[in-house]
Amino acid sequence: MRFRRIVYGAAGVAGLVVVLEVVSRTGLVDDTALPPASTVLREAGRLAVDQDFLVDVGATLKAWAGGLLLSVLVAVPLGVLLGSVPVLNTASRALVELCRPIPSVALIPLATIAFSTVVQQKMALIFYACLWPILVNTLYALRDVDPVAKESLRSFGFGTPAVLWRVSLPSAAPFIATGVRIAASVALIVVISTELVAGGDDGVGLYLNETQAGGGRNDLLLAGACWAGALGLVANAGLIWLERIAFRWQSARSEGVA
């Protein structure tokens, strides 16, 4: 089953590569606008050992991880606070719903004024974008903790902090992790957009901009884009893998082992 999925998936990717190659080689589309897939893949291979590009990737990853970590450190405790104090919960609900839909990229101009270095700008925008999915997932997860589980611990004389630490948080953890995973993919979009718009010294977004200087090399642009996609794919798969291991009880239970 799993083997078949991998084979079919690979066939799908190969099919797309072939179609793009044909479209470009036959002149259906101008090959400077859409270079042949084989050229793009060759350039992508070259980029993998290109020192300058690796520095760009490193800078992007650093801002990405830093911003994400910052938002986890703020959003989870904030979610716990808002989720466990009913007054704060009600008071903050409208605010959360209001701020959440604002796209981070819309705030790039503001960030460029507020922060002097591009690294800070990137981190601040990632932080803003990631805050909401993590905060909202934390809030909903805490609201949905089974009251019987909480009562069980309370009935043995444990107080509110112990119930929060030993029941609410473990039971909410899988949903918080899902929020972090969603945030991670949002963060990748934000960091590259910011690099495209705000510039700076290093970054995948910067590299993409540079490919367009003096004539424009779309093969290089697409090769860079492939790597950006690969980063997102690896991060997502890695986080799913971690979730599976850490929250085995969750998946096993919902699959109805017992």
Partner: protein, 292 residues
Amino acid sequence: MLQITGLTHSYSDGHVAIDSLDLTVADGELLSIVGPSGCGKSTLLRCIAGLIRPTGGRITLNGAAVDGVPDDLAVVFQDYSRSLFPWLTVRDNVALPLRRRGKSRAERRAAAQEALESVGLPDAGRKYPWQLSGGMQQRVSIARALAYRPSLLLMDEPFGSVDAQTREDLEDLVLQVHRAEKMTILLVTHDIDESVYVGDRVVVLNRSPARVHADLPVTLSADRDQIETRGLPEFVRLRAEVGRLVRGGARIPGAVPAGAAGGILKSDIRHQKGVGPDTMADSESGGTRPTR
């Protein structure tokens, strides 16, 4: 001593689950509580455990009003599978409450293992609750309560999911720890036989809202035996009486009216409210299990 006077509880949706219920339980007593499904038994236990604040009346434990969860209490919840923590192993589930006892990690684990053995699950410690059958999970939640060695133990239909043989073993286990630890036990059950076999006293609640419909002392010797005790004429008489009372309290259409059901009826039965047509879905018709 546990003293309940005029206990009333209505849920926020307006449903009155308990209506001025009076009950006194002496220290070291094992009280069986029987009553039809949905009559308010779980609500009563939650009030005693201080998990919900009743809307009226008074509960005192050893003279002090119950305001919050009393010390030295353990509850076996009816929703046993929801009351176990799926992210902890069975052994850690049982050991967790013992943190309140100031025991070391090794002591907690040893006590947990001992409790698991007493409920017949010596090899389940390393498993997770969701890897066990319903009956085994139920036994884990009993083991958790027993390991804690409470002075007041509340059990809400604790043997509902186990097979008949295990059920008898667990009934005897409860009798044994009750005698050894001298704890006060309130055991809610659907099973009329069980209420008589296990109890020092049986309280029958009537259909929603809960009130004490009848209160019978169990006039059997403290030493009980699954085969012998159940064959005694006195046991058979008590069982029939509780059965009649439960039916009376359940007010099944066509059944004997409550007041005429016999037994030691509370004197306040004449001003019972809620005699009108049942608003509840009566899926388990009176909540009695067929007697064996």
